[in-house]
Amino acid sequence: MKITVNGTDTDVAANTLAQALHELGYGDQRVATAVNENFVPATARDAQELAEGDRLEIVTPRQGG
């Protein structure tokens, strides 16, 4: 299925957010996620189903002012 990951069109076989993170290589990285502009906490990733066209944001700690 086609979804958007951090602004890039991406094909994934995953059905849930947790599966998608694994498939996309995030492994044990410290990340936070949002689907369609809504925050999805780590505890809800297993239950968060993905659908065609979903917009997934995956962020990590970065420098800031």
Binding site: N6, A34, E37, P41, I58, V59, R62, Q63, G65
Partner: protein, 257 residues
Amino acid sequence: MVDFYGTQVDSRLMLGTAMYPSPAILADAFRRSGAGIATVSVRREAGGDRAGGAFWDLIADLGVKVLPNTAGCHSVREAVTTAQMARELFDTNWIKLEVIGHADTLQPDPFGLVEAAHTLAEDGFQVFPYCTEDLVLCDRLVQAGCKVLMPWGAPIGTGLGLNNLYGLRSLRAHFPDIPLVVDAGLGLPSQAAAAMEMGYDAVLLNTAVAKAGDPAAMAEGFARALEAGRLAYEADPMSPRDMAAPSTPVLGKAFLE
């Protein structure tokens, strides 16, 4: 000591973590300045790219409090979602709330800022709002649940200093019990000292330090200025006057005509 939402911090310097020439220089700037709070952000990362983890390790080694921001957010929804992601990533309820209203000046959007502050405070966040020195806006932010205010000195990254001394002084007088932090626009330690002399509780810097020729030395310079300015404030400065007044006694001067 400054009290931010019940947390005592013994430095009056909040230091940003962006734009340093190297991670080692960033760490040196924190060490030499004694800054007690580091501001950080959240940004996209590709799978397998470990930059976020490496940065997090660097910040954890500094041993300072972390204040995540919502930098670059232009809407309430974007800022709220970013804050929620930051809370999970950094495991803190603190959030430096930025809702930008103008692309050229990076001026806060006062309307969006109040709405986002209210939403986040209701959700248990401890909000540090990046705001202007507008009294009415700051009143609304306090009503929304903010227990810290962070007015700009000048637009972010300009180094112009304290552009509206009257406005900043009024804010201090109007909110004697709210910690006030000058956030953004400072370029020189003298400007930070001036903020302290006005009774401000802290300043937040990034560009002034990171873009100096010697960032660590500049960070230390700011730390000393903050200490000097605060001491002056606590020492109850003399009142200025228009006419000269001799400091050496007139009485007893030799009569030599």
